[in-house]
């Protein structure tokens, strides 16, 4: 019997972007409100899981041709790099820097290197979650 998943597939296409942008929002909101890299990463991974549920593993791998293990490694290098950067300026490891900038559209914004560290966390969380789900899903 052939099942027809047209409704779930159609909904998933829209809802995927809603979840993904919500994850980006949570990620950037982390400094002043609840949220941050870990939660943002998990929500992003759940958006991708929704795609896997609606379609199947192979399709999603063609849509998002990402090697998640490399993603974990890149996230770790980014996190370590942010932490180690201050070593080259003579400050202790993990010293963060921030300042206020006038960005073209956003106006006066404070930019903090902790966000880069969080981006590393985000990449690691997405990578690890997706590696787990993909390996279990591919397992026969």
């Amino acid at each position: 019997m052939k099942t027809n998943d047209v409704i779930i597939q159609f909904t998933a296409k829209i809802v995927f972007f809603m979840i993904f942008f919500y994850a980006v929002h949570i990620f950037f909101a982390g400094h002043y409100t609840p949220g941050g890299g870990f939660v943002g990463g998990l929500v992003t991974a759940s958006a991708i899981v929704l795609l896997i549920v609606a379609f199947d593993l192979k399709t999603v791998q063609t849509i998002l041709p990402i090697n998640y293990i490399y993603m974990v490694a890149c996230g770790l290098i980014l996190a370590l790099g942010t932490a180690a950067f201050s070593m080259f300026t003579g400050k202790p490891f993990f010293t963060h820097f921030f300042d206020y900038f006038n960005l073209p559209i956003l106006g006066k914004t404070s930019l903090h290197t902790a966000a880069l560290f969080d981006l590393g966390v985000y990449l690691v969380v997405v990578g690890v979650t997706m590696t787990i789900i993909q390996t279990i899903g591919e397992d026969e």
């Binding site: 293990i69 490399y70 974990v72 490694a73 770790l76 290098i77 370590l80 180690a84 201050s86 070593m87 400050k91 202790p92 490891f93 993990f94 010293t95 963060h96």
Partner: protein, 496 residues
């Protein structure tokens, strides 16, 4: 350069990350791993000299003032252990080229090794009790990978037990830290030490001390909670076993020594008496196990348990002589256990069995292996010019000075049993009539395993002969263990 002490932790971590790329390229994996280890060894050696000249090195993450940020403290104890860890890992990785097998090398074996030494070095260096927990988890996670990597039936069975025991002990660790935090209200080790001294260790802190002994004792395999170790360690392949045997239990031993010399020094008659009794029973239990088995792996594994008992016996004396002996013995034991596991790995490779009764007459075909095994065995027992002698001598001397005559004699007597257990390997495997020999022994593979092993045994000989050069370093380490104020002063001033 106040960040210098972090390099032996950061460099292996960084190399572990770049090893995650190029998973299938074995040459790239091997060369990068060795390169990372060599750079870390140079940094760690520089660190030891730096600590020797300038005293304990401190860095607090993020430029925060001291009790508020995570402090990393590299005193002589930590610096020496970090250097030993890296040197041993270098030899074990080199040894692994000949024996670990292509499938494992292509499936994150080397990143696993690098992550494990990141965790071990971090645990040795940290000055924050919760950070110690995190580094314990880093090394345990990596060890879960290494114990199960390969997916043989025995490995799957034993890794379940190993993970279960460690998850329970980690949960207990968190609970214990929560208790401690609710009593003293800080996590920085120097600050905890000062605050415990202020309130003079009431009953609740003694309870926490015993809980810490339970937690770290489970990692270090002391008497009532060593049950998981013999079966768990028999599962993984030899290079991984050498890594575990040399490093993992010693992190637990280090954590016990640190907490019992820095925090809980105000109720010695209870806490240290308990540690003493447990250490002695650990030695007895290890001796029984080492004599009971006819399996070469098991004999050496039970010798780990004995050594843990001996080191903790030294720590329990709480005088400078015994603590210096414990430091000597700790580093000796890390080196010699790695060497012995590598040697029996070769024996198992050439005979194709772990059963002593099936072996025999190896001296006719492999004389060099035989004599190096004998040297390593004598080193383990503590025959005078070799490495195990001075540590045990000082521990016993400290035991007599503290008035624990009978237990010190028992520790001395345990050396005879250790000698007996390793001599049995020597007599059964090397002497006598020719026993079982594996048919497909390749000469090149044998040499690749043999050279690092020999170099490590020679290193242990130098460790024994060069006692005089090492004594100032060990004396520094013992001073910081016996007098917590050196540690706390250095940390508290380091933040200004």
């Amino acid at each position: 350069m106040n960040n210098f002490l972090l390099l032996p932790i950061i460099i292996p971590f960084f190399f572990a990350m770049i090893l995650m790329f190029g998973q299938k390229k074995i040459a790239y994996q091997r060369i990068t791993t060795l390169l990372g280890l060599v750079i870390s060894i140079i940094c760690a050696a520089g660190l030891v000299l730096n600590v020797y000249e300038n005293g304990p090195q401190i860095v607090t993450f993020g430029n925060w003032p001291v009790p508020f940020g995570i402090t990393m403290v590299s005193d002589m104890v930590a610096a020496l252990l970090v250097l030993t860890t890296l040197v041993l890992t270098f030899f074990i990785v080199w040894y692994g080229f000949g024996s670990i097998g292509k499938e494992r090398e292509q499936f994150f074996y080397y990143p696993g090794v690098m992550f494990i030494i990141t965790g071990v070095n971090g645990a040795f260096t940290t000055g924050d009790i919760f950070n110690l927990f995190v580094f314990f988890e880093v090394l345990l996670m990596a060890s879960y990978l290494l114990i199960v990597l390969g997916g043989e039936k025995a490995q799957l069975r034993e890794s379940i037990k190993y993970i279960l025991v460690n998850v329970i002990s980690s949960a207990l660790f968190v609970i214990t830290v929560a208790y401690l935090y609710s009593v003293v209200g800080t996590l920085n080790m120097a600050d905890i030490s000062l605050r415990i001294a202020e309130i003079n260790q009431p009953g609740i802190l003694t309870v926490i001390a015993v809980l810490f002994l339970l937690v770290f004792g489970m990692k270090a395999a002391i008497f009532p909670i060593y049950f998981w170790l013999p079966s768990a360690y028999s599962a993984p392949p030899i290079p991984v076993l050498a890594l575990f045997g040399a490093l993992l239990t010693k992190v637990g031993v280090y954590a016990i020594s640190r907490t019992y010399t820095l925090f809980f020094t105000h109720d010695l008659s209870f806490t240290h008496e308990l540690l003493l009794i447990l250490a002695v029973i650990t030695i007895v239990a290890g001796c029984i196990g080492a004599l009971a088995h006819f399996d070469v792996k098991q004999i050496i594994i039970y010798n780990i348990v004995i050594a843990v008992g001996v080191i903790l016996f030294g720590v329990a004396q709480m005088n400078e002589v015994a603590l210096e002996g414990a430091m000597f013995y700790l580093i000796h034991d890390m080196i010699i256990k790695a060497a012995l596991f590598m040697l029996i790995g070769i024996v198992i490779y050439v005979t194709g069995t772990t059963n002593l009764r099936k072996m025999g007459g190896l001296i006719q075909t492999y004389p060099a292996l035989c004599w190096f095994f004998l040297i390593a065995a004598f080193g383990l027992v503590g025959v005078p010019p070799l490495s195990g002698f001075i540590g045990k001598l000082l521990i016993i001397q400290g035991g007599f000075e503290a008035g624990n005559t009978w237990s010190s004699l028992l520790v001395l007597a345990s050396s005879i049993i250790v000698l007996l257990s390793v001599m049995r390997i020597f007599i059964y495997a090397f002497w006598g009539e020719k026993g079982q020999l594996s048919e497909n022994v390749q000469k090149s593979k044998y040499n690749r395993m043999f050279i690092p092993t020999v170099l490590l045994v020679i290193l242990s000989i130098f460790y024994g002969i060069g006692t005089e050069w090492l004594t100032p370093f060990m004396g520094d380490a013992a001073k910081i263990l016996i007098d917590p104020s050196i540690y706390t002063d250095a940390v508290m001033k380091g933040g200004e």
